[in-house]
Amino acid sequence: MLAKRAARTADGAPLGIRMRVNPVAKTVLQRLGFGLITLFVVSIIIFSAIAMLPGDFAKATLGQSATPETVAALQHEIGLDRPPIQRYFSWIGKMAQGDFGSSFASRTGYRRTVAEIIAPRLYNTMFLAVMTALVAVPLALGLGILAALYRNSWFDRLVNTVTLTTISFPEFFVAYMLAFLIISRDTFAGTQFAESLPVWLAVSINWTLNVVPKFPTLANINDQTPFWEHVWRAAMPSITLTLVIVAHMMRMTRAAIINMLSSPYIDMARLKGMRPMVIVLRHALPNAWAPIVTVVAFNLAYLIVGVVVVEVVFVYPGVGQLMVDAVKSRDVPVVQACALVFAATYILLNLIADIISIATNPRLLHPR
């Protein structure tokens, strides 16, 4: 990468002009352009999903009793009777205006647009994601900084082991473990296992379980749910997602700070007799922001994948659950819209991460 840049600056006059453009702005623009191209190609892929449908799809959806006229009507509705390029541009144009077409579940006289199906679900998913991010990011940064500060202590080892284990757990395992914990609050005392334990142990376990708040294990939510009630009911999915993403973020924060701590200027600060906490917060952290922000954005993007499974476990009415249901009933327009929403968010978050890490890169900020 560096070699390439050096070669470009070496080959003549036009580069003298290009050098005057702010390198940060230039790299950011390049990255933005690449992000837009990616989004464009991804939209083509998602669009062609419908073109890849098997030929007799219309017949299969309408069932045995389909007349040639109804088959032709459905094909016209999906647009299979027009050339693909024309279809793509009308599709993407409508998408940009928020018209995602109508679901295959709609019948004559009862049209269900994809937009009206997705909109409330999207709000719920965003609610869950934002709520999780607000808890998970500060928690991960705090734990990471503490682990770097007291590295190789028992605290560090404990946090490391726990996070390494939660990273390798599937989301639904974590989710059901938590649900089980909440439920055992009520059922533990009556189980055979509790009776086989000594009384004091059983009582203390029961007491500990009772400290856990009784979060609802099914996230029943509709548009009328008041805000705090919504938070309360979304608590379980949110805690599950937090556990899943905190691990990775925390480990990367720790690694980034420890990496910084081995540089000479930190030794200097140490020799001046500064306290370790001040060294980490004032000297190491500012230079470690770029990798940390990247990993935070990456994990927020990962939330999108985690959300699908967790929403299904807790029956939370979000886009993930909608997508899974649509995949099962092979309602392609809904699947397309969900995939586009997820992909666009994912690309956008990665783009933001890249731009932040470019903008905070000191080598680009102070060109020679």
């Binding site: 390798s168 757990f169 395992f173 997508m323």
Partner: protein, 297 residues
């Protein structure tokens, strides 16, 4: 200079080159507890998967009259929602879930490594084309992509394996290309080319042995990832279809028991989690011992 030579000769005793087996034995002896644990658990899983019909008390799809039976002597972990023995399903689940994940990883590696190394060897427009295609494929979360493709092609085991292998080979391609690029510029590759060896021979005999350690470690990680993706898809009900026993769908089918404080649904989920943890431990140790990689000083 001349005076130093005799000293070198006396200290430089003829060094016996260790055989691969003895080197492996030494490395194993130094393995930490976590790696031993990981290897032991993985071995158990493989044995259970291979010997499933011998170990299992009943047949895979044998249905008994009592659904959701409690744990007991007849059915060790009770029965599932249709009255099939849970233990038997767990054992056969090892076979199906691990087998399918393993096959997928093999396909993904065969495709990814071959294309990655070819791209590294030839560069030029094929490399550009493949790399950009991989960039685009990787810009969509693979679970979402897999869901979309499954909605088009339907959930059969063949399409499941091929779709996930395709999505996963992108990561393998990137790694193989990156490590391959470091090796193709070496002199011995050039020598082989001048000797007139064909590209397939150079790939297999000159490049592949030199990039094997990172690829093996990646194989472990990719296996975990594929395994978890398939489990997640089956859990969502669009992966491996009934009546095949599979851990992901077993969790889903018996999930209602959780609300009665029964741990049964956690067994298949735990089986998935334990295997991933075990493989991760082994990979972790393997990476440390082959690359001298250390977390920090």
């Amino acid at each position: 200079m001349t005076s130093a030579e005799p000293v070198i000769q006396t200290t430089g005793a003829p060094r016996v080159r260790r055989t691969r087996r003895s080197r492996m034995r030494i490395a194993l002896k130094k393995a930490p507890l976590s790696a031993w644990f990981g290897m032991g658990v993985t071995l158990c899983y493989v044995l259970v998967a291979l010997l499933a019909p011998l170990i299992a008390p009943y047949r895979e799809t044998q249905v008994f009259s009592e659904a959701f039976a409690p744990w007991g002597h007849e059915f060790m972990f009770g029965t599932d929602q249709l009255g099939r023995d849970m233990l038997t399903r767990l054992i056969y689940g090892a076979r199906n879930t691990i087998g399918i994940a393993f096959a997928t990883t093999i396909i993904s590696f065969a495709a990814g490594v071959t294309l990655g190394l070819l791209a590294a060897m030839y560069r030029g427009w094929p490399d550009q084309l493949l790399s950009r295609a991989v960039d685009v494929l990787m810009s969509i979360p693979s679970l979402i992509f897999a869901l979309m493709l499954l909605s088009i092609f339907g959930s059969s085991i063949t399409s499941l394996v091929l779709i996930i292998a395709l999505l996963d080979s992108t990561r393998v391609f990137r790694l193989a290309r990156a490590v391959g690029l470091n090796v193709v510029v070496m002199e011995f590759v050039e020598v082989a080319q001048l000797r007139g060896e064909g590209p397939a021979w150079i790939l297999r005999k000159e490049i592949l042995p030199n990039i094997l350690p990172p690829l093996i470690a990646e194989f472990g990680l990719r296996f975990c990832f594929v395994f978890l993706t398939i489990a997640a898809l089956s859990f969502l009900g669009v992966g491996i279809q009934p009546p095949s026993a599979d851990w992901g769908s077993m969790v889903r089918e018996n999930a209602t028991l959780i609300t009665y404080g029964d741990v049964t649904p956690l067994l298949p989920a735990g089986a998935i989690a334990l295997l991933t943890v075990a493989v991760n431990f082994v990979v972790d140790w393997f990476l440390h011992s082959t690359s001298g990689l250390r977390d920090e000083k």
